[in-house]
Symmetry: C2
Subunit: 271 residues, 2 copies
Amino acid sequence: MPDLHPFDVATSLVEKEAGRWSGQPSVEYANMVGSFGGVTTATVLNAVLQDARFLGDPVSMTINLLSAMGPSGFEVSSKLCRTGKYTQHWSLELEQEGKLCATATVVCGVRGDVFAHQSVQMPDVPPADGIAPMDGRGALKWLDRYDFRFVEGAPAWTGKPNDGLGSARTAVWVGDNPPRPLDHLSLAALSDSFFLRLLHVRGTMEPMGSVSITTHFLASRADLAAQGSQPVLGVADATRFQGNFHDQQMQLWSTDGKILATGTQLVWYRQ
Amino acid sequence: MPDLHPFDVATSLVEKEAGRWSGQPSVEYANMVGSFGGVTTATVLNAVLQDARFLGDPVSMTINLLSAMGPSGFEVSSKLCRTGKYTQHWSLELEQEGKLCATATVVCGVRGDVFAHQSVQMPDVPPADGIAPMDGRGALKWLDRYDFRFVEGAPAWTGKPNDGLGSARTAVWVGDNPPRPLDHLSLAALSDSFFLRLLHVRGTMEPMGSVSITTHFLASRADLAAQGSQPVLGVADATRFQGNFHDQQMQLWSTDGKILATGTQLVWYRQ
């Protein structure tokens, strides 16, 4: 059996009984505190995708990050709230050592071949293979698990305040390292793979963290198959930083200019 | 005692016990089926705001709409998941006649006077009082409870397909009718006051509905007080319509150009 990709190891769950799963944080995706939030998000989503009752495709997910996770095993519990003709609704919780670390809701949908339209055009960017990857070695462990090629808004990593405020907008080609075929799990993780906008604007690493992450999955299965292991184009921006919180919008694009996912998150910062 | 505003009647709840509230749909906000989703959203949020344990300000909310509501009384149950130093997390459910109609998560935050920055500029639009209000009389009941003044992307309401596809973008001054001082409850409702993007793009009223709505509240209390009962500027757009679902991003702006809330929703459509 070939070795599993680290992402598949990190997001794997063992079913204890219907709607109750156990998992283990992966050191491969370690963050400053706990794990990279995108992998936590994908792991919780996996408790839906692996469930025998799962119907259709995931279409929307919101995860709330309540407490930083430690290195010990955790449990994901799911509740199937409703299965209708067109949609299926789930509520989930992730607990570690009796402490609630995340709550989430996932909506699945039955997709058909109906009206289709994309009302936005992909930004005009150079291809990924002409851009040097960011050198993140020695920094956070999870950064090694992604290949980042910045088109616009690369972080300066000087640790010094920006000379004036920087732009909140980033465009970056991003993919799993090593490459891995795109699926809903990796889309969920990539949705949280952006450095928090506050870092780009201020230039300094302040105490900050994602509080609530919402992702809408708009890719068809054919889009995912066509994208394969190629990096996706991520675009992130923010509108306002106020009273310890800022928003962060994101889009994930396929190589050939299709929207794969869009979303928003709320970020907390201390000062 | 002066008469309550219809919005306050519609969103009012009676506490049955800690974390259990009862409410009644308001005919004033009736939609094609059930109630206007924005009022359902605000009502669920009210179960947090009215709770003795509520801390800080609401900063993020996601509501999932599972089933259309009927005219009978309903119950909102809330679970306080965590109160930390900076954030408070809630999970909520709305049931009617034993049927789960909505699930939601709400994050509250303790806000301080810290770094503040708005990284986007308000669109250059004419003031609300120079634009004629949309005449929605005789259509859906909830439309009468808002004053819509379209700057860009007014719906044609012809019921005929657009000549080509229309723009997904709308800019509209919108306020309660009669006017009511802005607060987090009305921001939550206004976040869902946009006509669904599919209607603007196709020009026809297809079977469709909001599935999941996320709002980030970025206004300070001073912003809300300064806005008072003036209409806010709403801007909505979408990126992709595919396989029975489309996304819908929105921004709510104060008269003086501050972002009050941003968010996104996922919309289901049938054909």
